[in-house]
């Protein structure tokens, strides 16, 4: 089952004096359970592509489908609906809401979608346990370490059981140990829940966690390689 289908997508920003072509005809496809890493130097267009794939933005040209939805056909509200039901996000800076507790942060997507509170909180509890944050549920983000924040963000990203997880440099702000734990977790989720993941990163180490690595340069796909080096989950990941 194809979760994400990108066909000759272009994205041009007309912000400044000269239009910037960030994505220049990219095609790729993610099936359910795929774990793909986007690699490339700054300005290669991977962030723009990621935004497009995360339904944050619409392509200038080309076709972009997430499951059955064609992004070009959707208005802002429909994009929002799509995001909150089918996509999860993990960011470099965690982007937890500082004014909400960990539990509140995790339940946010469900509640925004109008979901049931009790169910959401039960699920948040389970996920917290899963990512090892049970004792942190009542805490505020700023009381957490970077790794903990990112794990909380991951719990938030999957609470509504999305079809696609967009991860933008999820380890960029973490030390190597915490980075490894996060990557482990991603791998686990990918395997256990058949979660489709699109991850953008600078680091080869991080990219290595994926099944496929897509390298980008100047808005185009430069190369695609398949890795077999998928790390095994280690019990150490759960402390």
């Amino acid at each position: 089952m194809i979760i994400l289908s990108v066909e000759d997508v272009r994205k041009t920003y007309v912000g400044g004096e000269t239009p910037v072509e960030a994505v220049r005809g990219v095609s790729l496809s993610l099936a359910a359970g795929d774990f793909v890493a986007l690699m490339g130097p700054s300005g290669c267009g991977k962030s723009s592509l990621l935004h497009l794939c995360g339904a944050m933005d619409r392509p200038t040209a080309g076709r972009l489908r997430i499951e059955t939805a064609d992004l070009a056909q959707l208005n802002d509200d429909q994009l929002t609906k799509l995001r909150r039901e089918r996509i999860g996000f993990v960011f470099q800076f965690f982007n937890l809401l500082p004014t909400l507790t960990v539990r509140e942060n995790i339940t946010l997507p469900v509640l925004l979608a109008g979901g049931d509170v009790t169910a959401a909180e039960r699920r948040a509890g389970e996920l917290a346990e899963r990512v090892g944050l049970t004792h942190r549920l009542r805490h505020y983000p700023q009381q957490l370490s970077g790794g903990e924040m990112q794990r909380a963000a991951m719990a938030r990203a999957i609470i509504h059981e999305p079809a696609l997880l967009i991860a933008d440099e999820p380890t960029g702000n973490l030390d190597s140990e915490n980075g490894a734990r996060v990557l482990n977790l991603l791998g686990e989720l990918n395997r256990e829940l058949q979660l489709t993941i699109l991850l953008a990163t600078h680091g080869a180490e991080t990219a290595a966690a994926a099944q496929r690595i897509i390298r980008m340069r100047d808005g185009k796909i430069a190369s695609v390689e398949t890795t077999s080096a998928i790390e095994e989950p280690t019990p150490r990941a759960f402390v």
Partner: protein, 862 residues
């Protein structure tokens, strides 16, 4: 300077909305203060100016103990000649009926023109050409009893010609007068903007029913430099019952009389300014907080702390300068409204004043800038100092979006409590010079206490608000609550500002509500007579218009009239100010009246007290008199009578809400003994049982015919009239408050907007995790509403406290009235709802801005 242009000016230009809101806030604050200044000035200045223009070259005036003095006393004042020119004067207000049946008020001066020309500048135009008439020719124009000279301005305006007949109403009587000449717009002709009429002394005496009496003697000293010496020397030689004073004295007496009223208005006007200053503080702190990184960069690049401090002070200054300039203009505009709103009160309760604010003068520019700029700088100093403390490393640290969570420290509770304790202490201090200075200190302490309490209240809300809000508004409620809880240090100021305004609003509403109910009760209890009569030109107690004997005769002879209490009052000097001395017929009052007595208590005891005054040197005084001059039943007060100083025992203190200046009432017999036979200024008529008041009123009016102009109120209409005056008195109060609240809500809106711009990333995250625009909007509007709700609850709570201070301290000290405390629940509920709605509405624009934020870039691009 360049740095300022680049760093501050461009920023201000970018943040147009916030800059505009701040400027508007300051402008309104300054405008309100200015408008009230001008309004107050207009009433006192109007009066003083009238005194001045009428006074001319008068250096001293000799006045009596009562309403004028016996003219025969002048016989023995020939020695005054050695000091200078002496001219007897009758002054009063009359009405002129114009061709279109409208009438206008005229200030009337009755003088002996033979003498008066050396005191005042009269330029006569007796025919088409200007002429310099001799005093004798001038006199010939006026010697006929029905002659009048009007001003050029007035005759031009109303197209009147010399020789034409006009109808003038003096006191209660309308008579035709012939315009015998026209005064050029010089000297006294400029009085009341040309609404001035010159009469011969004799005609004026006759017309005003003041035969045998003179209002005062104006003296122009030969040697004006010897004013003080002459004043002393004259004072020594004057017989008992006469005293000498400078004309300006009347102005200062009026000023003193109006002082409490003006003081209260001024105090109220400063609230708007205070709130405007909150805005400045707010704006500068926001700009400091949101630009920490930039400040850090500046510092890293070599800007000193002083430079940074100067930059942000300059920001405040820039805003303040624009704000004050606009405020100057707004103030002028507002003053017209304010004068209109206060004119009724001032005219009804105090003096006939000009109904125009003074033109803008340097002094107003000085008030606007002298007040606005330093205070703005002061308000900006705190955040600017904070900016100066920003370390250069702030630039490098990147984001410090994760502000440390607000911690409830002891000082957030202790400080407000200390202030409330101070308020308690202040409230128990006596008045200073008749002004409730400590009362206001107390109110101020309460207000600041409330302001400092706001963080704690917000904290409590953050803690306890989640569940109910979640239940009420779903996840948006939770988010809003969490957002506010996270931004306590930032929103406290705005919420406090709004809370302060609202507390004043509440306090004033409670005070006025209580006052009104008290007055309604008093009116219902004491105004029991069937008809109340006054001469048509008697617009306030200061207008000394008395009834024609014919009117009194018609009234008392009417078969349906059981009793007509002839009441007379006028101003007398007492304790450095003016009080009202009244006289009525105590026997009739005892038989028919229903005064409410404060002491002795009980209707029977009161009646006994009234009875005890008859034939005695005893008086009853109003509550405000008793409070103002710290007197009570049994005390003896000394009054200057035409026969010298005499003492009177206070037999009773009665409740009165008609005048705040203090009233002394004595029986007609006692009055006659010392002041001479009084002429009535009002008639209180009790009808025989079964008589129809309206029918009697019609019948009396018919009997008076068209010549007598008498206003007759029935019982119902006098009650309405009392309440009309009451309500108009407080119209200005509400207007001022509404402005303050508007400014405060402006503060809430700008704060929210800032918070949103600052939380761009968080909102973007929200959007990413699935919040749609509607939800974001809802969240922001709830935040706004929450701020309003907190402000209103703090405001209402503190307002009730304040109202206690207003009613039991400030009111008692400045007006001397007993007010029964009542909480106007209806009003409170209504205003709470309104405030909630208004603040929520003020959140609409920030909400729109929030929902329009672009999602992706904010989150991802760092």
């Amino acid at each position: 300077m360049r740095l300022f242009r680049q760093f501050i000016w461009r920023h201000l230009a970018q943040e147009k909305l916030r800059s505009c809101a701040t400027v508007l806030g300051i402008a309104l604050g300054v405008a309100v203060v200015l408008a009230i200044q001008m309004t107050n000035a207009s009433s006192v200045r109007g009066f003083e100016k009238a005194i001045e223009t009428v006074a001319g070259k008068t250096s001293l005036e000799i006045v009596g103990a009562g309403a004028g003095f016996d003219e025969l006393l002048i016989k023995d004042l020939g020695w005054l000649r050695t000091y200078g020119q002496v001219s007897p004067v009758i002054e009063g207000d009359a009405e002129i009926t114009l061709a279109d049946k409208r009438s206008e008020s005229l200030r009337v001066l009755g003088v002996d023109i033979l003498r008066d020309r050396s005191l005042r500048d009269y330029q006569l135009r007796a025919n088409a050409e200007t002429q310099t008439a001799s005093a004798r020719q001038f006199l010939q124009l006026l010697s006929d009893a029905r002659s009048v000279i009007l001003t050029e301005k007035f005759t031009r305006k109303h197209k009147l010609n010399i020789g034409q007949t006009v109808e003038l109403t003096f006191a209660d009587k309308a008579e035709p007068y012939t315009v015998r000449g026209v005064l050029k717009d010089e000297g006294p002709a400029r009085t009341m903007d040309g609404n001035f009429a010159l009469l011969d002394l004799a005609s004026a005496q006759w017309a005003f029913h003041r035969l045998g009496r003179i209002d005062r003697l104006d003296v122009r000293l030969k040697d004006a430099a010897q004013l003080a010496a002459a004043e002393r020397a004259i004072a020594e030689r004057l017989p008992a019952g006469l005293r000498v004073q400078r004309p300006a004295r009347r102005g200062s007496q009026v000023e003193k009389m109006l002082a409490a009223f003006h003081f209260n208005l001024t105090a109220l006007s400063y609230i708007a300014l205070l709130v405007g200053l909150f805005l400045i503080y707010n704006t500068v702190s926001i700009s400091v907080i949101t630009r920490r990184a930039e400040i850090g960069t500046l510092r890293a690049l070599g800007a000193t702390r002083g430079t940074v401090l100067a930059l942000f002070l300059a920001e405040a200054l820039a805003l303040a300068v624009i704000g004050c300039s606009l405020g100057l203009l707004f103030g002028r505009v507002l003053s017209f409204g304010a004068v209109k709103l206060t004119a009724t009160t001032v005219n009804a309760l105090y003096i006939a004043a000009a109904a125009e604010p003074p033109p803008l003068a340097w002094q107003h520019v000085w008030i606007a800038f002298g007040l606005g700029l330093p205070l703005s700088l002061l308000a900006a100093a705190v955040p600017a100092l904070e900016a100066a403390r920003v370390a250069p490393t702030a630039a490098m640290r990147g984001s410090d979006h994760l502000i440390s969570r607000f911690r409830l420290r002891a000082r957030y509770v202790v400080l407000p409590l200390c202030l409330l304790a101070a308020a308690w202490w202040f409230a128990r201090q006596p008045a200073v010079n008749g002004l409730p200075a400590f009362g206001y200190a107390s109110a101020l302490a309460i207000v600041f206490g409330a302001a400092f309490l706001v963080p704690a209240v917000l904290f409590a809300l953050g803690r306890l608000g989640d569940k109910p809000l979640f239940r009420l508004f779903k996840i948006e409620g939770r988010l809003a609550n969490a957002n506010l809880a996270g931004a306590i240090p930032r929103i406290s100021i705005s919420v406090a500002a709004l809370a302060v305004s609202l507390s004043m609003m509440t306090a004033i509403a409670v005070m006025i509500g209580s006052f009104r109910e008290t007055v309604v009760y008093w009116v219902n209890q004491t105004l029991v007579a069937d008809l109340y009569l006054r001469p048509a030109t008697r617009h306030n107690v200061a207008t000394d218009a008395v009834f024609s004997p014919e009117v009194e005769r018609i009234v008392s002879a009417h078969p349906a009239v059981a009793a007509a209490d002839r009441f007379r009052n006028f101003d007398i000097a007492y304790g450095g100010g003016l009080v009202t001395l009244g006289t009525g017929e105590f026997a009739k009052q005892e038989a028919h009246g229903h005064l409410l007595f404060k002491a002795p208590t009980g209707a029977e005891a009161g009646k006994a007290a009234i009875r005890s005054c008859i034939g005695q040197d005893a008086v009853i005084v109003s509550e405000s008199f008793a409070l103002k001059y710290a007197t009570q039943v049994g005390d003896v007060i000394s009054l200057t009578t035409p026969q010298g100083d005499r003492t009177f025992r206070i037999a009773a203190v009665y409740y009165d809400y008609s005048s705040d200046r203090g009233i002394i009432v004595m029986d007609r017999g006692t009055f006659t003994k010392y002041f001479g036979e009084p002429q009535a200024t009002s008639l209180t008529v009790y009808l025989r049982p079964g008589a129809d008041a309206d029918a009697v009123r019609e019948d009396l009016l018919r009997q008076f015919g068209s010549n007598y102009r008498v206003l007759i109120y029935t019982n119902a209409s006098i009650r309405q009239e009392v309440l009309r005056i009451f309500d108009s008195t407080f119209a200005i109060t509400y207007a001022l408050e509404v402005i303050a609240i508007f400014v405060a809500i402006l503060g809430v809106a700008t704060t929210l907007l800032t918070l949103i711009l600052e939380r761009k990333r968080e909102i973007a995250v929200l959007r990413l995790v699935g919040a749609d625009r509607r939800q974001v909007r809802k969240m922001v509007v709830i935040e706004a509403g929450l701020m309003g709700a907190v402000s209103q609850s703090v405001g209402a709570g503190v307002g009730l406290l304040l109202s206690l201070v207003l009613i039991y301290v400030i009111n008692v000290q400045s007006f001397g009235w007993t007010i029964q405390f009542r909480v106007p629940w209806g009003f409170l509920a209504q205003s709470s709802l309104l405030i909630l709605l208004a603040t929520a509405l003020s959140g609409l624009y920030p909400a729109r801005r929030a929902s329009q934020l672009q999602t992706a870039e904010e989150v991802v691009e760092e």
